[in-house]
């Protein structure tokens, strides 16, 4: 038996060798950090490394420290609330925009508008950050120039934390609506035209056709994409927050999320104990959520689950 395994492996040694580069890369950049999660229970010392550092005494000290921090609590709350907001608004926009595009008769117009709305997806958040700055800057921003021209007071966006959930939502919708629409639009174009023909013979209006044919046809796609998004609700898009908000600490009450909090603790304040405890909790909750949402997605549609 054991000999058989070795013989099989030896027979395929070229194949194994070909897999080796990827195997090593995944081991170094994915598996080692997984093992490195134990750092949350260690009194980390740079000279001793993750695995050589002493265990924390008491073991959960990093977590006690974390739970007593208001900033950490704020970061968790912001992550969940903002992601919930992004998912909801995103769903409405993407489905809505797909339905609108689907109604358009002119093929050329449809293609051009799809191209234009897909374009922002390809640029980095850094560039989006520059765009946002052009619009929102207190002195030279286009929005404030417009406000002063029509006789209103300019708004200092970069110190108004309350406005940022809205600003970030708009930024995501601007960047990702065209991209998110593609899958919904594909699902819509695959709907058999005879449904609509039969409905219109029966006297259904366009609106009724959307309500009773298009939307039900999109239902599985909507459910699955939403489930998978909910599975990632603990993970904030670090790139967006860092590029849009950056070090503007006045905005942190509404925009500091787990990922930016961990980054700051790690790179700025050097508070590795707290950062690793927060990261550990995030990884664990994310793991449970991913498994659960994937399980749910699998129940609804076998092909849509990741595994």
């Amino acid at each position: 038996m054991k000999n058989g395994v070795i013989r099989e492996l030896f027979k395929n040694r070229t194949l194994l060798l070909m897999f080796l580069p990827v195997a090593v890369l995944l081991f170094l950049f994915n598996y080692l950090p997984l093992a490195g999660l134990v750092i949350a229970f260690k009194d980390f010392d740079f000279t001793k490394g993750i695995f050589g550092s002493d265990w924390m005494d008491p073991l959960f000290d990093n977590f006690d420290y974390l739970f007593s921090s208001d900033t950490a609590f704020r970061a968790v709350r912001n992550t969940i609330l903002l992601n919930a907001l992004f998912i909801t608004v995103g769903l409405i926009f993407e489905v809505g925009f797909a339905l609108l595009l689907n109604e358009v008769r002119n093929k050329y117009f449809k293609r051009v508008s799809q191209s234009l709305t897909f374009l922002p997806f390809f640029i980095s958040w850094i560039v989006v950050g520059v765009f946002a700055y052009n619009l929102l800057d207190f002195e030279s921003g286009a929005v404030n120039h417009f406000l002063t021209t029509i006789g209103l007071k300019p708004i200092d966006f970069y110190s108004e934390a309350g406005l940022w959930p809205i600003i970030l939502t708009i930024a995501i919708r601007w960047k990702a609506t065209g991209y998110g629409t593609i899958i919904y639009l594909a699902a819509l174009t695959s709907v058999d035209n005879s449904y609509y023909e039969a409905a219109s013979i029966d006297g259904a209006t366009r609106w009724q056709q959307i309500r009773y044919i298009s939307l039900p046809m999109l239902r599985p796609t909507i459910i699955i994409l939403t489930l998978l998004a909910v599975g990632r609700i603990m993970n904030a898009d670090f790139g967006m927050f860092y590029a849009m908000v950056g070090d503007a600490s006045l905005l942190f009450p509404t925009t500091d999320v787990i990922d930016t909090f961990v980054y700051r603790s790690l790179r700025k304040s050097g508070d590795i104990g707290m950062a690793s405890a927060a990261g550990f909790l995030q990884s664990m909750i994310a793991f449970v959520l991913v498994i659960a949402s994937n399980y749910a997605a699998r129940k609804i549609d076998k092909d849509s689950a990741i595994f």
Binding site: L34, S140, F307
Partner: protein, 294 residues
Amino acid sequence: MPAKRFSISQSIIVLVISLFSLSCLFPFIMVISGSLSTENDIINYGYTIWPKHVTFDSYRILLLGSNRIIDAYGISILVTVAGTILSVFVTSMGAYVMARRSFKYRNILSVYVIITMLFNGGLVPWYIICVHYLNLKDSLWALILPMLANAFNMFLIRNFMNSIPEEINESAKMDGAGEFKIFYRLIMPLSLPVLATVGLFVALSYWNDWFLGLMFVDKQELQPLQLLLRTLVSNVEFLKSSSNASAMQRISAQIPSESIKMALTVVTIGPIVFLYPFLQRYFVKGLMVGAVKG
């Protein structure tokens, strides 16, 4: 009657879509306009759709004046080209092994890859592994290696290779070709459509990446373009948010001005906009393949 109502709703739909489409284009135009404006116009009139006085000064300074920008451009191109070639080669080679039906243990390898899509160690251990154990701080490899192997892309390629008939392997084997030769000479050319898609995915993520630079590169001459842009933006912001405005005015002659920032943005997104027709086509294709089964 119905015909008229229909055309009204059509025009409303067209109007809404047009407005949103234009809003997607608007910031791009504003940046180009800003890069061609004089500094005074930006200060007096803000960012506008059309420059009041057209000047190419910012581009001139960008090209001649600053080595840092040329360096950053070079780094970004190097990282993108090297990263894309290496990544496509390494992932497609791994995908080939996972797709090889005669290999009994290929599913174990697939599980090994899938696990990396599900479990995540998070930033802290990842960062310490890279810096402390792999010594990636301030090296060019830090900008390439961590993103090289991508599980999602591997499955994309594997699924495509699964559709290539196994007989090709067998007949090549009869002719005495080894596995690597079969992969390199037969399977890779046959998989060109999916490799092109993945190649564009990877190239785009390398070009747009600044996170690796932010984490690992402190040396200025190793900074990629996106990070340099970020540094310029945050510098200006930093100065703006600092309380003493008069000192800021004194310094502002030394720091890169607004229109240079815009010009750098244009140069950063230039290649993407230029390649956009290809990007769009292959992305939609890849998205569809990925949507079928990851």
